[in-house]
């Protein structure tokens, strides 16, 4: 059995007065790509924030065998990288500066970036094809270009676990395909990737799938399993159908009768 990267037990979390996660248990395998899917409001993004230690919650989360609650902040930041839904405001920062922020967990306070930091940033910017704009500011980039820079920032952390919330937002199909290739390379290198995705067909490219609905995990299994497909069709109330096209699975929406 594969080792576990993130384990969660009895997770409950609320946003304001509303309980969003209602007791979740899961074990996400190491060096695999797990996608989290579910209908709107199922609690996917909230779950990802809890797994990253960014939201107060009940229950216990362990990261690579260590309790997230007791893990020092800096150590956690080195082991787990986070790419959230865009809430950026730093239009004046250059692409290079943004990617370099990913190296903060390794740098002394106000210390100059080391050669290793520079190399990690260069590698990340080249991997997301953002290297050519490194001197531009974020304000000079389009939505898709910004998303690639933010992905580079997360890659620059060089963490063993990478959590991404809607990483394909604003990306065109060729760059979605590049992202897919990048994730597969990372997984091959031993990185654990967990992503929340709205596009079910892209989510079905993952190794594992966590299906959530109404604040609970309804299914966890391999993306190729028929049981996973049935669970998906069930949580979307039969409004999608999963088909095989070549070696890939795709989800097609079923239009309701007029």
């Amino acid at each position: 059995m594969a080792s576990v990267a993130i384990c969660a037990r009895g997770i409950r979390a609320s946003l304001g007065q509303t309980e969003v996660l209602r007791g979740m248990d899961m074990a996400l395998p190491a060096a695999r790509w797990t996608s989290i899917v579910g209908p709107n409001g199922a609690g996917k993004s909230t779950l990802l924030k809890v797994l990253a230690g960014l939201l107060p919650h009940q229950g216990e989360v362990t990261l690579l065998g260590q309790s997230l609650a007791t893990l020092p902040r800096r150590r956690r930041a080195q082991q787990l990288a986070w790419l959230g839904q865009s809430e950026i405001s730093g239009d004046d920062l250059t692409v290079w500066d943004v990617a370099m922020l990913g190296r903060l967990p390794y740098q002394a306070w106000l210390g100059a970036p080391s050669a290793a930091d520079q190399a990690a940033v260069e590698q990340a910017l080249k991997a997301t094809q953002a290297w050519d704009w490194r001197a531009r500011t974020l304000g000079q980039l389009s939505g898709g270009e910004r998303q690639r820079v933010l992905l580079a920032r997360a890659l620059a952390v060089q963490a063993r676990v990478l959590l991404m919330d809607e990483p394909l937002a604003n990306l065109d199909p060729p760059h979605q395909a590049d992202w897919l290739g990048l994730v597969r390379t990372l997984v091959k290198q031993g990185c654990t990737v967990v992503s929340v995705l709205h596009e079910i067909s892209m989510a079905l490219q993952a190794d594992e799938m966590l299906v959530v609905a109404d604040g609970r995990v309804t299914h966890q299994g391999a993306c190729a399993d028929a049981a996973t497909h049935r669970s998906l069709e069930r949580v979307f109330e039969g409004r999608i159908a999963i088909h095989a096209i070549g070696a890939q699975w795709v989800a097609l929406p079923i239009a309701s009768a007029p």
Binding site: L54, A77, E87, S89, D92, L93, V98, L101, T137, R153
Partner: protein, 340 residues
Amino acid sequence: MTRIIRQHRATLWLGLGLLLLGLLLVLSGASVGSTGVDSLRKVWSDPLAWQIVWDIRLPRTVGAWTAGALLGLSGAVAQGLFRNPLADPYLLGSASGASLGVALALVFFGVSPLATHALVRIGLTGAAFVGAVAAVLLTLLLAQGVQHTLRLLLAGVIVGVVLGAMSSLTMLMVPDVMQAMQAFLLGSTGFVDWTACVLMACVWLLCMAVAWLLSQGLDGLSLGEATAASLGLPLAKMRAALIAVLALATGTAVAQTGLIAFVGLAAPHLVRPLARTRHGGLVLLSSLMGGALLSAADLLARALIAPQELPVGVLTAVLGGGYLLWLMHRSTRTTAGDVA
């Protein structure tokens, strides 16, 4: 890489340029007044001229630069901390708190801002400072801490409105203080002496050191709170320290010069197109820009209708308002261009 080095060079040149401009403005300020440049010419031979230049003109000019530098610094910190380019140093209610403090001091001690007695001056300054700090503390209390930016902003607006209304009510109930309050509300550098200059300079050094030390955190915050937290930044402690900087810098400036609008808001906006820099550079450059802005406004306020003078707060409000209107017009035009 060449372009990045060029950007750092632009930051350095802008900083040096603003420092020189500030120095030039301070020297020009020493030659403007009712006796004109004559006092400056006779400064070494005539004791009265020396007194005019050393005891009146120079402290107010240096004071204008320092107060502007404090407001510029606060503006850059506020805009970074609240992740909003329209954030103002007075956002947490400090201006209304300082006004109420002065209004209450005038009512209870019967003093006037025009009085020059040191004790009276310290009394009014102290009241303004206590009012500003109390207002920020009240804002923090209402927002239940520094964790939630939106709650903090709303609490700041509420405190500002309520304390502003209380100041107005005080003036309505005790009309004797109305004229004295006006001098404070319109903003003036006319009452700044060397003690005030030293006090503001010390506060500036302290606030600049803290803001610069936390500038990396401000860079992280610009990627969003969740991302900043995921990078291991101690957000709660950082926010608390930056709010303390904001309260101290704004409270000190307002206490010495009254309410001066737009300097804190406009200084970072004037810096950004000239030098793309991270928050460490932005805070320092905005501070230098704020100093130059208020020195220039003070010079204009004294020269425009000499030997009379305009309240410098009125001038910064008119010029700053005009600048923001232009900025709004330019951004509307750019957006329209993008859509087309």
